[in-house]
């Protein structure tokens, strides 16, 4: 299981990192593996408000549908449009295939570092 050290994690299996003034959000390797082959990603629109701990997107595999929760409160500055046509990118490269970039961040959900997240996964196993 790949858990990059430089990222922060939520208990609902999203990752987040700060980059060039944005908070970049994606799904973890564990999440993509649990979901199996993703077939569809439903993303918010640029300008939408997202709230920490609240759902902002959903992803579908053949046999499951799952909500994605925002690690931060803020405004959607950019969405990864490439995923709309190629959701499999999340399976192939979960830490490269970010979902949204958030700006004007005012709050964050409780976040874990790599070691804490690893521990959580061990408990979930």
């Amino acid at each position: 299981m790949n858990i990059p050290e430089e990222l922060k994690y939520t208990k609902s299996h999203e990752w987040v990192k700060e980059e060039d003034g944005f908070y970049v959000v994606g799904l973890t390797d564990y999440a993509q593996e649990e979901l199996s082959d993703l077939v569809f990603v439903n993303l918010p629109e640029v300008g939408d408000e997202v709230e920490a701990g609240e759902t902002f997107a959903d992803v579908e595999s053949v046999k499951a549908a799952s909500d994605v929760y925002s690690p931060v409160t803020g405004t959607v500055a950019e969405i990864n449009e490439e995923l709309l046509d190629a959701p499999e990118k999340i399976n192939e490269d979960p830490y490269g295939a970010w979902l949204i970039k958030v700006e004007n961040v005012s709050d964050t959900a409780p976040l874990m570092d790599c070691a804490e997240y690893e521990k959580l996964l061990e408990e979930e196993e």
Partner: protein, 479 residues
Amino acid sequence: MKLIFERGQEGRHLSILPKLDVPAYQPDEALLRAQAPALPEVSETEISRHYSALERRAHGVNNGFYPLGSCTMKYNPSIDEEMAALPGFTNVHPLQAEKTVQGALEVLEKMEEKLSAITGLKYFTFQPAAGAHGEFTGLLVIKAYHKDRGDEARKKIIVPDSAHGTNPASAAMCGYEVVNIPSASDGCVDLDALKAAVGPDTAGLMLTNPNTVGIFDKNIEEITRIVHEAGGLCYYDGANLNAVMGIARPGDMGFDVMHLNLHKTFATPHGGGGPGSGPVGVREDLGKFLPGFRPVRGEDGELHLAQPEKSLGSMRSFFGNFLVVVKALTYVTMLGREGVLEASRNAVLNANYMRKALEDIFPAAFPVTCMHEFVISLDKLHKETGVSALDAAKALLDYGIHPPTMYFPLIVHEALMIEPTETETKETMDEAIQAIREIYERAYSDPESLHHAPHHTVIGRPDEVTAARKPKLRYQKEV
């Protein structure tokens, strides 16, 4: 195999319609479609052969054993089809005057009487076209009931975690919040969890009994009492009624509202996914909320259509899937009081026979007397051999047996749910038992072959991921 669009030639057609016997009316060009619809252009021979080929590539109850749990795939009697095709039923317009449709109204009246006798609930509506539609209707009755009492605070429907996915989906369609309660270790309702969940916000509870693991919940009266004391109503999902006809009645268990699936319990065919019929029954005082019009016998001895006093509206146009009701009435008329009991008794007997016969290799998830179906878990097999419930199900296809319901209920890992029904012979069940045993042995000797099963069907396992990622949902002529 070719699509019907890939057969035929431009201009080919049948000779269905006569020449126009009135002057042709010419509407304004601006009203007309630019191009004729791209429909097939085929001969009658081609249609006949095309659909005969499609029929060969499908599997019905007429082709072989169909132990698809929770779907009650019993034999569909021929007489039912013949009766539903009588011109006295098929050529009647739903908006004809009452006095010209007395026979049709009597079908509904008689069926209500019979369903009432079997379920212990008083009034029925036949508008719902399927089980899920019945659930939606029944929950709207509950919503209308609370609203009528001026109690708008009841926003929650309690559903056990073992419930079919339609239960929470139906509740959501009624604007209700769904409260999932965990099952107890015996697969039944956890009474403490239920007591903790009910309150002044409880609109009702949705339950099947026997439940989705095939067990009759012995605490059923306690369950309905807890909900009633909290001010809620109890909804009975009739999907599993085939287990208890003549044996126990939802009305006596304390249920207020229920639906039945005529296409399960009353032997009407499933048609590849419909039409079904999901009549909803209610206790006497809830009759006033039912949708649509009901036949009521007047003092003149004739049947008249009456709208219930506080009717919640209409769930479907006219009287629902009427011809399906004709089939069900034919069935239940033929069975009568002894026949329905015999049906349920043997449905339960057959399930327990198969459960016992498989016990040494696949013990039931809840190893007690089951009702008309039982659930086995292939978790151990999966861990030991890598062969999943899906692999085993696919392997059964090569035996000409339709697999049991897979991966349901969600509370059992690697679940297969087996419902033989009462219309199968011991010989058929023994063949299926033998097939499952062989698959079990192959799981240990040659698991790889099972991962690629089936081997003898017209296609192998389809690529569902590509189907969903790049949906191709219609034929388009290549240019």
